[in-house]
C-alpha cells in the first residue's frame, strides 16, 4: 500500500514537472500553426502560412544565414584552439598547467553581458567597427572554455601509448597529431563543435552589442518582439528550437557512441 502511494507520488511529480517544463514550448509550437493573426487562444485551425511568411521574410532569411556563418566559423575556431590547448596541456605536464587551465576556463564565470560590453569598448577604442566579425570573435571567447574542457577530459593516457607507437614507427610529431590523435579524438571534437554551434546559434547579448547592419537571428527576433505577439515569431522560434534539438541529438549520439566504445 505504501509502495503504491509512493509510486503515485513519483508519477505526479514527473507529470507536474513535464507540464511546467513543456507548457511554454507546446504553446509556442501550437500557435505557430495558428490560422489567425494572434498566437493566443482560441486556436483557429491549422495553417502553414506563418512559416511561408518567415521563409519569404528577407531580413529573417538573411539573419538566419548570418547566424549559420557566425556559429559555424566561431565554433570551428573555438574547437581547434580548444583542442590544441587541451593537447598541449595533457601531453606535457608542467608547473604552469594549473594556471593555464584557470585562465582558459575563466570566461565561463563572467556574464555574457560583461564580455560583450568589454569587447564593445575595446573594439571602439581600437577602431574596429561593429560587425559579424566582432560577434564571431565574442562567440569564440564564450565557446573556447567549453571546447577546451570537452577535449581535455577525453585526452587520456591510453592514447599516449598509440601515439608513441606511431612515433616508434617513424611518424613525425605533426603526422602523429594529424593522423593519430585527431582521428582518435574525432567524437569529442564533433561534440565540442556541435555544442559550440548550439550556444552561438542562440546567443543574443553579445550579438546585440557587437553588430549593427548585418545581424544574427536572435537579434532580429528581439527587434520583432517590440511589435508584440505574432504567430510569425512563434514560427521562427519553433524553427530555431528544432535546429537546436537536432544539433543536440548529434552531440548526444556522438558522445554516447564514444562512451560505449
Amino acid at each position: 500500500m505504501r509502495l503504491r502511494g509512493s509510486t503515485l507520488a513519483s508519477a505526479l511529480v514527473l507529470i507536474a514537472a513535464a507540464i511546467f517544463i513543456f507548457l511554454p514550448v507546446v504553446v509556442l509550437v501550437q500557435f505557430s500553426f495558428q490560422d489567425g493573426l494572434v498566437p493566443v487562444p482560441p486556436f483557429k485551425g491549422f495553417s502553414l502560412r506563418w512559416y511561408h511568411k518567415v521563409l519569404e521574410d528577407r531580413r529573417l532569411v538573411k539573419a538566419l544565414w548570418n547566424s549559420v556563418a557566425v556559429a559555424s566559423l566561431s565554433s570551428l575556431i573555438a574547437t581547434v584552439l580548444g583542442f590544441l590547448a587541451a593537447y598541449g596541456l595533457a601531453r606535457r605536464r608542467t608547473g604552469w598547467n594549473r594556471a593555464v587551465e584557470l585562465l582558459l576556463m575563466a570566461p565561463i564565470t563572467v556574464s555574457y553581458l560583461i564580455i560583450g560590453m568589454g569587447l564593445l569598448m575595446t573594439f571602439t577604442m581600437a577602431g574596429v567597427p561593429k560587425s559579424l566579425l566582432a560577434v564571431g570573435i565574442g562567440h569564440v571567447v564564450i565557446n573556447l572554455p567549453l571546447a577546451f574542457a570537452i577535449c581535455y577530459a577525453q585526452l587520456g593516457e591510453h592514447q599516449v601509448a598509440i601515439e608513441r607507437a606511431a612515433e616508434d614507427l617513424g611518424a613525425s610529431p605533426l603526422q602523429t597529431l594529424l593522423l593519430i590523435t585527431v582521428p582518435m579524438m574525432a567524437p569529442s571534437l564533433a561534440a565540442a563543435f556541435a555544442l559550440s554551434v548550439t550556444l552561438s546559434w542562440d546567443e543574443f547579448v553579445i550579438a546585440f552589442l557587437l553588430s549593427r547592419f548585418d545581424v544574427t537571428l536572435p537579434v532580429v527576433i528581439w527587434s520583432m518582439l517590440r511589435s508584440g505577439l505574432s504567430p510569425e515569431l512563434n514560427a521562427v522560434g519553433t524553427l530555431v528550437f528544432a535546429v537546436s534539438v537536432l544539433l543536440l541529438l548529434v552531440a548526444e549520439l556522438l558522445t554516447s557512441r564514444r562512451r560505449s566504445s
Binding site: V13, A17, V40, L81, L104, L119, F204, I221, V240
Partner: protein, 287 residues
C-alpha cells in the same frame, strides 16, 4: 611519457598558445579596459578625469538610488530564483534517480530538459504567450468560469521569477540528478537495515550526500541569473529594473561607458562574493 616529451617538446609548448592569446586579447584585455574605464569620467564625449571614483559614487549615491535599487532587486530576484529552483528541481531529480527504472532514466532526463535548449529570447517570449492578458492561462481561467475578464500575469517580478525558475529548474535537475545517481545504494540500504525510517534515510544519508550537487547547481543558477538581461527585459515590465537592464540603459541611451563599466564591476564583485560564500559552503560540506 618523459622520454617522449623530450623528443617533441616544441609542438607541445606552443599548442596552447593560440587559445591563450585569444583569451588574453579578447577576454582579459577587455576586462582590464573596463576596469580602467570605470575609473574615468567622461562628459560630452570627452574624458574629463582619470583615476576617479566618481562613477562608483554615482552608482551608490546619486540618481535617487535607482542604481542601488537595481542592485538590490537583482540580488533579491536571484536569491528567490535560486531557492525556488532548488525546491522544484530536487523532487524531480530524486524521482528520476530513485523511482524510475535505470534504463529509462537517461532518456527521461534528456526529454525533461529538452526545452533547456530553446533560444533564451524565444523561451521568455513563450512565457509571454502563456502569461499575457490574452494568453493561455487567462483564456483557460475564463473558459472555466474562474475569471470574468482577461487577467494579465506578465510584466512584473513574478513573471521574471517564473521565467528564470523554468530555465534553472532544468539546469538544477541535471546537476542534482548527476549527484544523486552517484550515491551508492548500499549506504541507503544499510541505514534502512539498521532501523532508519525512510524519512531518516533521506535527511541523514541522501540529503547530506547530495548537497554538493545542489551547491554546484545553485551557484551556477546564481551566476547566470544575476547577469541575465533578456528574461527581466521581456517578462519583467517597466516597474522595476534589474542591474543588467540598468547597465544596458547606460550603454544604449547615454553611451555612458565609464558608468556602465563601474556597474559591471559591481556585478562582477557580487558574483565573486557569491563564489567565495559558496566555496566555503562546499568545503564545510566535505568535512
Amino acid at each position: 611519457m618523459s622520454a617522449a616529451d623530450k623528443t617533441r617538446p616544441r609542438l607541445f609548448v606552443w599548442a596552447p598558445a593560440p587559445a591563450l592569446l585569444w583569451t588574453a586579447l579578447f577576454f582579459v584585455l577587455p576586462l582590464l579596459a573596463m576596469a580602467v574605464t570605470s575609473l574615468t569620467r567622461r562628459e560630452h564625449g570627452e574624458t574629463v578625469a582619470f583615476w576617479t571614483l566618481a562613477n562608483y559614487r554615482t552608482f551608490f549615491t546619486e540618481g535617487s538610488g535607482v542604481f542601488v535599487a537595481a542592485l538590490w532587486n537583482s540580488i533579491e530576484v536571484t536569491l528567490i530564483v535560486t531557492v525556488v529552483s532548488v525546491l522544484v528541481a530536487y523532487p524531480i531529480a530524486y524521482v528520476l534517480a530513485y523511482r524510475v527504472p535505470a534504463r529509462w532514466q537517461r532518456m527521461l532526463l534528456v526529454l525533461l530538459v529538452l526545452p533547456f535548449w530553446t533560444s533564451y529570447v524565444i523561451r521568455s517570449y513563450s512565457w509571454l504567450l502563456v502569461l499575457s492578458e490574452k494568453g493561455v492561462i487567462s483564456a483557460g481561467l475564463q473558459s472555466l468560469g474562474l475569471a470574468s475578464g482577461p487577467i494579465g500575469f506578465g510584466n512584473n517580478r513574478g513573471a521574471t521569477v517564473l521565467g528564470f525558475v523554468h530555465f534553472f529548474t532544468m539546469l538544477l535537475t541535471l546537476t542534482i540528478y548527476a549527484n544523486l545517481a552517484q550515491i551508492r545504494e548500499s549506504y541507503r540500504r544499510a541505514a534502512a537495515d539498521l532501523g532508519a525510517s525512510p524519512v531518516q534515510v533521506f535527511t541523514r544519508i541522501t540529503l547530506p550526500l547530495s548537497l554538493p550537487g545542489v551547491a554546484v547547481g545553485a551557484f551556477l543558477t546564481f551566476v547566470l541569473a544575476i547577469g541575465d538581461y533578456v528574461t527581466p527585459q521581456i517578462l519583467g515590465g517597466s516597474k522595476e529594473l534589474l542591474l543588467p537592464q540598468a547597465i544596458m540603459l547606460q550603454v544604449g541611451r547615454t553611451a555612458d561607458f565609464p558608468l556602465a563599466s563601474a556597474m559591471s564591476m559591481v556585478l562582477m564583485a557580487v558574483v565573486t562574493i557569491a563564489y567565495l560564500l559558496f566555496a566555503r559552503h562546499l568545503k564545510m560540506d566535505r568535512l
